[in-house]
């Protein structure tokens, strides 16, 4: 065994990226001069050497089978000398040196169900997480909800008719693996029922001091239940962060009657124009309604269209709302402003309106 370990390689790291770069990229690495969007989903990058690289971006649901990967490989072999890439938002990009290959590739992609788009002033794939497909913590599904929303917003992926980029992200619980906190529209799975303590397993599975310490609002307190050490939850102090559950499996928050999603808007990541911004709460809660979550898709379409119809060119969702002010946004969207919209965490005071700069 010790010997086997010796031979076994570890820590060799990922393969060097260079071997995966098509020749045209190797030759023009760092020499790109400008790019142009040729049509939705297709752009060309022009090099100082005058070389031209065509990119065709195809949609992907991210959760893909090896069969689909092999189909992509077939297309890349056919049109792209055996190279292709994925994007930071999980789309597939085919890199072509021959312009003539563009249309046949697109036709082949259509055959396997992968439309092209997402470049320029469009909606691109939804960054998302595991949901009921793989995570124990999920308050909603990820892949399914993403599918519903993108089906509904499909036109905005395949066309470029929006004022600017619009980035949607989804995370199935407050851990926010999709890092949705800086998205134009974020869909966030939320629990709304305090953890239910499984006293029978807690003592074995969790360290009580750790569980108590994990709760940011001190809602978890040591307690003796049926003569055994355990914890109790002061329910009115619970803000459903699930931090206790992360450190202790005996405190699940998942609950079909109370789980669902909240919608957050106006965040951005890029430094273009306005500095990066966090997303802000728009809709506190929509119940889960699988398989098609119609209330969620409608709510999001309304937000997208409200923005699209009112924003100035290049204005991201948050930039538009900054210009018109949140009171106008609430009026225009018809969303009811509620107690839940008002921050009551650490920096709450800084989110209050501290001037008389108001419109009527």
């Amino acid at each position: 065994m010790a010997e086997a370990m010796q031979e076994r390689r570890t820590d060799y790291g990922p393969p060097h990226y260079e071997q995966f770069l098509p020749p045209i990229i190797k030759e023009n690495y760092g020499k790109w001069k400008y790019h142009e969007v040729l049509k939705p989903g297709v752009m060309v990058h022009v090099s100082e050497t005058d070389a031209k690289l065509y990119t065709v971006r195809a949609a992907s649901g991210r959760l893909i089978s090896i069969d689909k990967i092999r189909m992509f490989c077939d297309l890349a072999d056919k049109y792209c000398d055996g190279y292709f890439r994925f994007t930071s938002r999980h789309n597939v990009e085919f890199l072509l040196s021959k312009q003539d290959n563009i249309e046949p590739l697109i036709a082949d992609l259509a055959k396997i169900g992968h439309p092209i788009g997402g470049i320029g002033n469009a909606i691109t794939s939804i960054v998302h997480t595991q949901g009921w497909v793989h995570c124990h913590s999920a308050a909603t599904d990820a892949s399914g909800l993403v599918k519903c929303v993108m089906d509904d917003l499909f036109e905005y992926f395949v066309e470029t008719k929006l004022p600017g980029k619009l980035r949607i992200a989804l995370a199935c619980c407050l851990n926010m693996c999709g890092a949705v906190h800086c998205s134009d529209i974020a869909i966030l799975g939320v629990h709304r029922r305090p953890p239910r303590v499984d006293h029978s397993t807690l003592r074995k599975m969790c360290e009580i001091p750790n569980v108590v310490a994990s709760c940011p609002t001190a809602a978890v307190r040591p307690a003796t239940v049926d003569g055994n050490p355990s914890v109790e939850v002061l329910e009115e102090n619970c803000m459903f962060c699930a931090n206790c559950y992360t450190v202790c499996p005996s405190m699940p928050l998942n609950d079909p009657l109370n789980d669902g999603v909240s919608i957050w808007i106006g965040g951005k990541v890029s430094n273009a124009r306005h500095e990066p911004m966090f997303s802000k709460l728009a809709i506190p809660f929509i119940p889960n309604n699988p398989p098609r979550w119609p209330e969620v898709t409608t709510a999001i379409r309304n937000l997208v269209e409200l923005w699209a119809n009112n924003a100035r060119k290049y204005e991201r969702m948050g930039e538009w709302i900054n210009r018109i002010g949140w009171p106008k946004f609430f009026k225009m969207s018809g969303i009811e402003f509620q107690k839940e919209h008002i921050d009551d965490f650490k920096h709450a005071g800084l989110t209050f309106k501290r001037s008389t700069h108001l419109t009527f």
Binding site: F20, K147, C148, L174, N243
Partner: protein, 395 residues
């Protein structure tokens, strides 16, 4: 084929519509073995009951590595025995997510043999996610991966798999070589990546310019974002061409400039570069006419993270501008010092951004021996609670 698939009226609804369907993918994968079919069954049940059916993860992995595998068990193992174990493996993607079909086919072959046949291309940290296998297949999968030179990525309280935008490979705006730096840091910190020894996770993300196409400022404990410190390169002819072709330079470009440092007299575009905040907007709108300056490097920022538990953070400036050149000693020195302090004094499950806020940025800078500069703050303090460190005593 369809015969071995469970009855899933709910999920079947998700085969409809124009966006690629993950249900179709799961059904395709079901050809290769029973795991995907059971996944489908359990998921259908989740859709009916509106609740997940996974147990809290357990610790599983491959020998010698402390991370890279997420243990996962069904809470309905009797009903869905083929996913009673359903662990994921995180595989370190090549920088920039470029592949040859050969490499990808090899991965597919391994996963056909060893796992569910399902993947995420990619996980939101950037890894190749091999979705679903059993404990006994973990080690053999890793052996197979060694054969094709793919290594495991991060999970747990370790360095997470670094990722970057495509940068110089496919973008005219890359102010430094994101892929080279990503590869170098990944190789340099293999031990930290594979053996969790930090108070909590740590993420690097590299973007070639302030457009930040890997969202590094929101999602990385260290965000390395390309920028320049000289003047935007302007091709006045090309500007005029944009204007001639109908671009309204005043309203589309100038009025969107956050620093209000541009002027356009119908013929020449003037930029007062000493006020330009390098936001990229004008360059984004006129890529043929404007380009980042020639003296390029990066701004390094620290501390972003998701909300758990202090609330979400954005990374904040550590180095306003540094040159990014191999062997990247300045970055590595700084990272080493930061990790030393954080590992020594950080609490369990305290991200470095939270740590810095707890001990104070000033104290943190002292500890890592970096001088404070005004670029690190949006503005100086507003409250008068200064911890003056020394006082005089009477003789």
């Amino acid at each position: 084929m369809a015969d071995n698939l469970p009855n899933t009226p709910m999920l079947d609804e998700l085969e409809k519509g124009k966006w690629p369907s993950f249900v179709k993918e799961i059904k395709m994968a079901a050809k290769h073995g029973p795991m995907a079919a059971d996944l489908l069954g359990q998921l259908e049940q989740s859709y009916n009951e509106k609740i997940g059916h996974w147990k809290h993860g357990g610790i599983v992995g491959v020998m010698g590595y402390g991370g890279g595998v997420i243990g996962r068990y069904s809470d309905l193992p009797q009903k869905f025995p083929n996913i009673s174990h359903f662990h994921t493996m995180r595989i370190n993607q090549p920088a920039g997510w470029f592949y040859t079909t050969k490499a990808l086919r090899s991965i597919c072959d391994i996963w056909e043999k060893r796992g569910s046949g399902l993947t995420n291309m990619h996980g939101s940290t950037g890894d190749i996610i091999l979705l679903g296998t059993t404990t006994d297949q973990l080690e053999p999968t890793f052996t197979d991966l060694q054969g094709i030179d793919f290594d495991i990525g991060g999970s747990g309280s370790d360095l997470r798999t670094p990722s970057c935008c495509c940068g110089m490979a496919r973008c005219e705006w890359a102010c430094y070589d994101t892929m080279a730096l990503t590869y170098d840091l990944t190789m340099h910190y293999q031990d930290e990546l594979h053996r969790p020894a930090f108070p909590y996770k740590f993420k690097f993300k590299m973007s070639g310019c302030p457009n930040d196409c890997v969202a590094s400022i929101a999602r990385a404990d260290m965000s390395i974002i390309g920028t320049w410190r000289d003047e935007i390169q302007v091709d006045q002819d090309a500007v005029r061409e944009y204007a001639d072709r109908g671009l309204d330079i005043q309203s589309d470009v100038i009025s969107n400039c956050p620093s209000k440092c541009m002027e356009w007299d119908g013929k020449e575009l003037h930029i007062d570069n000493s006020f330009c905040v390098r936001c990229m907007h004008c360059i984004n709108v006129m890529p043929k006419a404007l380009r980042p300056g020639k003296d390029r490097g990066a701004t390094i920022l620290i501390g972003s993270k998701a909300p758990i538990i202090e609330g979400a953070f954005l990374s904040s400036v550590l180095f306003p501008f540094i040159k990014i050149e191999p062997p990247y000693d300045m970055i590595k020195d700084t990272v080493d010092k930061m990790w030393d302090v954080w590992c020594e004094e950080g609490k369990n499950r305290e991200r470095i951004g939270e740590f810095i806020q707890r001990v104070g940025l000033g104290n943190f800078l002292d500890a890592i021996e970096i001088d404070p500069v005004p670029e690190m703050v949006a503005h100086p303090r507003e409250n008068p609670y200064v911890f003056y460190e020394e006082y005089y005593e009477e003789d």
